[in-house]
């Protein structure tokens, strides 16, 4: 059985600022990041959809201790965003000063771009991720 939307395809789309997900033909749920089985009903019968990348911040943190090789990135902000389509996704929050990263961020609306993690010796290649900016 073939994997409908692989990481490779998801990654290439995200590098063009396109957030792809899977819509379940059985229950309608949106699964992103992509999997073999629907996140709700576990059916493999899903079709590729493009998502808006817009949503609301659910939680956040400012990271000050980096993993080996990523020291130049700190401090950076990680967020969990609830997309307008209802599903949560992890990404970074940019265009803010870390001192602005307070509880006030929760429920703020964001829109999406992307950045690419170039990869390291453990990662089997590069990987894009969503980066979010506060909507003004």
């Amino acid at each position: 059985m073939e994997y409908k939307l692989t990481f490779k395809e998801y990654n290439e789309a995200l590098k063009e600022n396109k957030l792809l997900g899977l819509k379940c033909k059985e229950c309608g749920a949106i699964t992103v990041p992509p999997k073999m089985a629907c996140r709700k009903c576990s059916s493999p019968d899903m079709e590729i959809v493009e998502l808006t990348g817009k949503g609301k911040i659910q939680t956040f943190t400012i990271v000050n201790v980096a993993a080996e090789g990523r020291e130049s990135e700190v401090p950076y902000t990680i967020v969990m965003v609830e997309l307008d389509e209802g599903t949560w996704i992890m990404g970074n929050l940019i265009d803010i000063d870390p001192s602005e990263a307070t509880m006030e961020l929760i429920d703020k609306r964001v829109s999406m771009g992307h950045e690419v993690f170039p990869g390291d010796k453990y990662s089997a290649g590069d990987a894009a991720r969503p980066v979010f900016s506060l909507e003004t």
Partner: protein, 395 residues
């Protein structure tokens, strides 16, 4: 299924970077467990060993085969368990099943790890491997960042102002340090026994809102647990500690748990399995060693295991209800925070503590008087692997 008992336990001191190898550490813990059980290496029929990052820490894979040979358990089946920080618990749960089924009579389980020896940058990189490498690591997820986000979510969801929650989280660390400071096996033995709240709050901010003192250390260490069938156990010891409940569950990445966060559903499922199997409820547990990788993780764990209502654990800790003499004694060993966290070995260390508590063999300042039923709880990754055990006095 037969009844299965822990007959003997051993563990090394958990510590910062040190020079003994993973095999050497486990060998010391295992020989202590064998001596305590009045057994010889030739009596062990199989080895179930937790080890997560030996490949990175020492360039050592398949450590379980070398460990078995090293201690004189020649040619026995030896298996490695990897569930991040839940590895040793998984190993013990499986070991239990092989004995309960009647396939083996006497087995050795536990774990070994040199997380501290790796140093912080590599440890931070490798611990991030317990998150999703494709869909979480690119954002720069680190293990503290996972629980930091859960802390902010906990504040929001339960309406506890962040400043207050941070003070309550500090009481969790302070309680753990108090007990660990009098535990000779603890990473922070003799340290931080009297740490004031503001020292916790103002220490280095690792991943907001978690400071250094909200976070458990990286540790080196090993643990060993010997399990035997009831019939054999009764010949070996007058104080068999029976494993009466086991539970295990898994989860995917954090985003896929959105309906439950900051609750970790896998723990609740695993805990129900072990309570149901044992015919017990949370009220029956006298002492619990749970997964306090971060102060907030203690609150989430205590609620997930059913000791306090959701959103109420923070005030319970403040009131002393989660300490010896309270509603339930949590982490009298000092927990991961103070006793330490050599991840592949931690679950075995929790069993070590519970067995000593039930046998009344713990230093008096942290002995839970009359403890008869204990529980252990370990979590790996973003709530990806949860495993718990319920243990009960057999005398």
């Amino acid at each position: 299924m037969r009844k299965v008992a822990v007959v003997g336990v051993g563990e090394t001191k958990f510590s910062g970077p040190q020079d003994k190898t993973e095999v050497e550490l486990f060998a010391e813990a295992a020989m202590d467990a064998l001596n305590e059980s009045n057994l010889k290496p030739k009596d062990i029929q199989a080895l179930f060993l937790g080890n997560v990052l030996g490949d990175f820490a020492e360039g050592q894979g398949m450590v379980q085969a070398f460990a078995a040979e090293n201690i004189g358990c020649f040619n026995i089946p030896a298996s490695r368990y990897e569930g991040a920080c839940a590895s040793a618990s998984m190993a013990i749960r499986d070991a239990f099943m092989w004995v309960a089924s009647g396939f083996y009579d006497i087995v050795l389980a536990g774990g070994t790890e040199r997380a501290a020896t790796m140093g912080t940058p590599l440890a931070t990189r490798t611990f991030a491997m317990f998150s999703d490498s494709r869909y979480e690591y690119p954002s720069g997820i680190t293990f503290p960042a996972v629980f930091a986000m859960l802390a902010h979510l906990y504040s929001k969801k339960y309406g506890i102002p962040l400043e207050k929650l941070r003070q309550q989280m500090a009481t969790v660390s302070i309680q753990s340090y108090k007990h660990g400071s009098s535990n000779p096996k603890a990473h922070f033995y003799g340290k931080y026994g009297d740490l004031p709240v503001d020292k916790v709050l103002t220490s280095f901010m690792v991943s907001s809102p978690l400071t250094l003192h909200d976070c458990c250390p990286f540790s080196d260490g090993a643990s060993a647990v010997i399990l035997a069938s009831e019939e054999t156990a009764k010949k070996l010891t007058s104080k068999p500690v029976y494993i009466v409940g086991i539970g295990q569950s898994s989860s995917g990445p954090l985003a896929n748990q959105q309906e439950y966060l900051p609750r970790l559903r896998a723990r609740e499922i695993a805990a129900k399995q072990s309570y149901d199997m044992a015919g017990l409820t949370p009220k029956d547990i006298d002492v619990c060693e749970l997964h306090d990788c971060f102060s907030i993780a203690s609150l989430i764990a205590a609620e997930g295991l059913g000791f306090f209502e959701f959103g109420k654990a923070a005030e319970a800790w403040e009131k002393g209800e989660a300490d010896i003499g309270g509603k339930i004694a949590i982490n009298p060993s000092g927990g991961l925070k103070s006793k330490g966290h050599p991840i592949g070995a931690t679950g075995g260390g929790q069993v070590y503590e519970i067995v000593k508590q039930l046998r009344g063999e713990v230093e008096s300042g942290r002995q839970v008087e009359g403890a008869r039923i204990g529980m252990t709880d370990t979590l790996g990754g973003d709530g990806g692997t949860l495993c718990n055990l319920i243990l009960q006095r057999g005398w």
